[in-house]
Symmetry: C2
Subunit: 303 residues, 2 copies
Amino acid sequence: MSRVLLTGASGFLGAHTLAPLTEAGHEVHAIACAEPPSGAAREGVTWHRLDLTDARAAEALVSEIAAERLLHLAWYVEHGRYWQAPENVAWVEATLRLLRAFAAAGGRRAVMAGTCAEYEWSQAEAYDERTAPLAPATMYGVAKHATHLVAEHFAANAGVELAWGRIFMPYGPGERGERLVPSVIRALLAGHDAPVSDGAQERDFMYAEDVARAFTAILDSDVQGAINVASGRCCTIREMVTLLAEALGRPELVRWGAVSTRRGDPPRLVADVRRLRREVGFTPRVELEDGVGRTVDWWRTRS
Amino acid sequence: MSRVLLTGASGFLGAHTLAPLTEAGHEVHAIACAEPPSGAAREGVTWHRLDLTDARAAEALVSEIAAERLLHLAWYVEHGRYWQAPENVAWVEATLRLLRAFAAAGGRRAVMAGTCAEYEWSQAEAYDERTAPLAPATMYGVAKHATHLVAEHFAANAGVELAWGRIFMPYGPGERGERLVPSVIRALLAGHDAPVSDGAQERDFMYAEDVARAFTAILDSDVQGAINVASGRCCTIREMVTLLAEALGRPELVRWGAVSTRRGDPPRLVADVRRLRREVGFTPRVELEDGVGRTVDWWRTRS
């Protein structure tokens, strides 16, 4: 049990992380840029409202909390824009400043969210953290990769343990409505057409609760360096959309090929998860079909 | 002629850059973290005192100056410490913030100081900007490399031209007294022993005025991307120290081998300067023997 500083706590993955962190016995200081979501009150969690890009406010709060562990999930994530947005640069700065302040306040172990977008995207085999080439094609991927380079060297010099969790394709309750899985669910729930690409792209989907549990397990381990946070299961977009349409009983509303794939969209993004399984000892709990059902149910209660 | 924002203006290389910038007709806004050095007043130069790591003050001043061009030479340079110091991380942040503020204020072209420490240091051939592997071994090199990655992607998206000048071994008047060339000169001028290594390391020395002229030429060109700022001439430390000792007439005071080489010190660091010569059209003016003489003379007037 230790004091954990959690950033992005009201975000998609952050919100799912509160349960496993408190269940592991941690005293959680949850940072969010807005008011905590209603119903977010939870024993063992103290909420702080903070814009991490505000240098002085961030340094003051991180120093005051003086956490032993840091789980940094916050970043700029506006759908569509975040791939190339200049805000990524401000988040490089905010993340490095956060890590410096955490170390200065006596922090011992940090886990930060990286991304599969750090990899060179034309690889056919599963991405291995130690051998896959890093050549990000997007501002988002470059910003995360550069942050990792600096953070890792700084942490080693400062005597802080650092793990860098590269997230692939999380999905589940609370995901932004414009993204693939929620947009299909919302269209079909409303009885509208769901325009999608031909769906041939292969992806590595992981249910959000499993992503949250994986990050908690990494935080509680002594693993350092880059580690993929993914299921290791290859699933095409077509398979995912078909599962969603079946769960909602509206396969006729899916308009295959109505959307062209985004320029530069990689054909295959699947993780090698041996590090996560063997070194952290983590295995996902939620199968794809189950996760899809739960996600659909969550959207039903909100429509 | 355009308005140029020069950072690090009171530093070793910055101070040498004021002359070529104003001679090229630029209106220079010189930023320094301390009072301008005495005698620094010069027609065409407006001085501003600013700590670039102070986020709000930096954003306000850069916005107010609204320069068309940026020459960013400032960085953390405390002798001995800068290779691994955590301050490098704050300078990643300060540099990216500076570039964002410059672009937001309408800036069109930025030239920033990189370093030969970005390269993987075991190469035997001259370092070519386009083919030499980048694998920095130090916090300083990692910080510069990561800054370049983010800055280049951001600038391309923002419509700002960016050149990244990788400096090798500048020497000349105004260099910090603890560094190799000044420390040997000062010892011999005082009649003390000058302990040095065996001097076998090969380096690429460039006289500070030439470095300053090269940066000015790059700023006035349309070259983008990484470009070595160096002489292309291979010179051992032994040759340099021998020249210094001869200029001072005290070769008997040099204690060869009295200092062990720094761990990780590369045997050979020489630049391929074809880009600087052909694309920028720049050739150094000051030969090594002449530069050594001028540097020794400068220290004589101060002892």
